[in-house]
């Protein structure tokens, strides 16, 4: 369970997060919506320790995330995908996925240098695991292709594979539907729900595509100007006048 409370983050004169707080329960898909600049990505970056918030707390299953270093986050079961993709271009799709398992099965330097059998066995296990995921995500045809040059939608699935291989408990998805066609978004929604049912994780989903968010979320939080303005079921949030104002007020 992810608990965010009173998070404050400032960039110079701009307050990106102004006492943000909400909870994501186990196995729940929580959608985070809001106009551009509302602070959604800043929130993600705070959780994953790319930014350091000035005040507030973020706890996951009791662990204080703000006390962890960046590379320790995944060890506590939290992974993220990136809005503009953050893959490793020269590594193959399979290898990109395998890197995701670094924390669950860490390769050590000296055994690696010597080609130790245990290292090689571990590698085979991780690769087999990765292959299963690629099969699930229909990426096996491209498994050995370098990530560079593949279509955007495909790469989004690769990021998902990389995220899932560490068997996370919480998935932070940063605009997963960005750049996808309408049918691809539907597929994505079904995929996320299916993966959640198969593997069991909760997800916090930053998304602009209302169809996707309202369609798959169990719980929706709306933000504007760094504050949470609504928090409830998809239906409740959709009806909330503050949310309408935040969006419609913008387009004026």
């Amino acid at each position: 369970m992810l608990e965010i409370s009173d998070l404050v983050m400032r960039f110079g004169g701009v307050t990106a997060l102004d006492r943000v707080g909400f909870t994501v329960a186990d196995n729940e898909i929580c959608g985070l919506i809001g106009p551009n600049g509302a602070g959604k990505t800043s929130l993600f970056n705070c959780i994953t320790r790319i930014y350091r918030p000035e005040e507030g707390a973020v706890r996951f299953n009791g662990t204080d995330l703000l006390s962890l270093r960046r590379h320790q986050i995944v060890r506590h079961g939290i992974v993220r995908t990136f809005q503009n993709l953050a893959l490793f271009p020269t590594l193959s799709v399979l290898d990109n996925t395998v890197v995701g398992a670094h924390s669950t099965s860490t390769p050590h330097l000296v055994p690696s240098l010597l080609g130790w059998p245990t290292t090689r066995a571990a590698r085979r296990r991780v690769e087999a695991d990765a292959w299963e995921l690629l099969e699930r995500l229909e990426l096996t045809d491209l498994a050995f292709h370098p990530a560079a040059g593949l279509p955007f939608g495909t790469l989004k699935r690769v990021e998902l594979a990389r995220a899932l291989i560490s068997r996370p408990s919480l998935l932070l998805l940063d605009e997963p539907a960005g750049g996808l066609t309408h049918s691809e978004v539907n597929e994505l929604g079904q995929l996320i729900l299916g993966l959640r049912d198969d593997y069991g994780f909760s997800a916090l989903l930053v998304e602009h595509h209302m169809g996707l968010v309202m369609g798959i979320s169990d719980h929706v939080v709306a933000m504007d100007f760094g504050r949470t303005i609504a928090d409830g079921s998809p239906a409740e949030v959709q009806r909330d006048p503050a949310v309408a104002e935040a969006y419609l007020g913008r387009t004026a």
Binding site: R70, P89, V99, H102, L109, G115, R123, R125, A143, F144
Partner: protein, 361 residues
């Protein structure tokens, strides 16, 4: 995925139909590897019976290849540009020199010593890398490379200072078990360097092919994603720099044994560091055989350039080749060849299958 084409044995694969696909570990692959191994052994044996001068050239190639493999770890794989790696080369050389001359160590024993010294120094130099981005790190390594001869000159009672240090031939005599006499010293050094080169290349191969190497490449290509995947960027960068310095230091140690007299202003200056880097880029960064090609360039370009003019022509030639490579084949000669080969033949890895009866991890 392309289907393997059946082509007649004599005709080359037609590029219109796409490259021929070979599975790693399959029969064709093993045969190709075998041929390569046999060729390598033949070349090494041929080198073993050359006259001292030419054999010495090959020895130098081996030494510089080791040095560039070291540089490749920091600059090619992790992406930390090091302009002054000549300082590690010199440090390894002087470690051997000092231990042999002043403390009468057995030369072979100085190799691990040089490795340890350079590992420690490499870790220390790697520490600033944690906070300093590429361009600025390059400046630090540049300054390190320029400062090294000065530091050597400063500790002149230890190192012979600016006049240099000479190791007597007697001290570098081949050990009893090698079967070489003092007169066959150059043979001994040749075989020693070749063996060390093979070991170093094998170690580099293991590192690169394995997940540790993948993690290094991940750090180079996208630090934030790498950290999100659980890679400890700081530890990896510092460790990589340490290992990189250690390997280049071993090369320096061998260099001391090969050349017998050390002169900091000659071999371990900034220009030497830049030459190593140029060799790496020409050969191919982040490739396994690039360092060897780079070493061939580093040794033979000056040699053949000497016929065109005075010694400095080599530097001009290097610059020209470097700029040519950067513009035409940024992945270096090896990268360029690999790209061309991939149009004809592609090696695909095995499909990972779960071992029978094991649990899901």
């Amino acid at each position: 995925m392309l289907e393997p084409k059946t082509t007649p044995a004599q005709a080359p694969a037609s590029t219109k139909r796409g490259p021929r696909v070979i599975r790693r570990g399959g029969r064709e692959h093993t045969v190709l590897l075998g041929i390569g191994a046999v060729l390598a052994v033949l070349v090494i044996l041929w080198g073993g019976q050359l006259d001292p001068f030419n054999q010495g050239q090959l020895t130098r190639v081996a030494i510089f290849a080791i040095a560039i493999v070291g540089l490749n770890i920091a600059t090619g794989y992790i992406g930390l540009l090091s302009v002054g790696h000549s300082a590690f080369f010199g440090l390894g050389a002087y470690t051997t020199g000092v231990l042999v001359v002043k403390y009468e160590w057995d030369p072979l024993m100085t190799i691990p010593a040089a490795l340890v010294v350079c590992l420690v120094v490499g870790l220390l130099v790697g520490l600033p890398a944690l906070r300093i981005r590429g361009l600025y790190l390059a400046m630090v390594t540049l300054a390190f490379g320029v400062a090294f001869p000065e530091i050597v000159a400063h500790f002149d009672d230890l190192t012979g200072g600016a006049e240099g240090m000479t190791i007597r031939r007697q001290q570098l005599r081949p050990p009893e078990w090698s079967g070489f006499t003092l007169g066959e010293r150059s043979q001994w050094v040749y075989w020693l360097c070749v063996v060390v080169l093979l070991i170093v290349m094998w170690i580099a191969h293991n590192m690169v092919r394995g997940r540790y190497g993948m993690a290094m490449i991940a750090v180079r290509e996208n630090e934030i994603a790498a950290a999100s995947s659980g890679i400890n960027i700081a530890v990896m960068k510092v460790t990589a720099f340490g290992v990189s310095g250690a390997v280049t230091g071993v090369a320096g140690s061998l260099f001391a044994m090969y050349i017998g007299s050390l002169f900091a202003e000659g071999s371990f200056t900034l220009l030497a560091g830049i030459t190593l880097l140029i060799g790496l880029v020409i050969g191919g960064e982040a490739t396994r055989s690039g360092p060897l090609v780079g070493a061939l360039a580093v040794v033979f370009v000056p040699y053949y350039a000497a016929e065109l003019g005075q010694g400095q022509v080599a530097a001009v030639l290097f610059a020209v080749v470097l700029i040519f490579v950067i513009f035409v084949a940024p992945a270096g000669i090896v990268g360029g060849i690999a790209k061309a080969v991939r149009k004809v033949v592609v090696v695909t890895p095995r499909i990972p299958r779960k071992p029978e009866g094991t649990q899901q991890s």
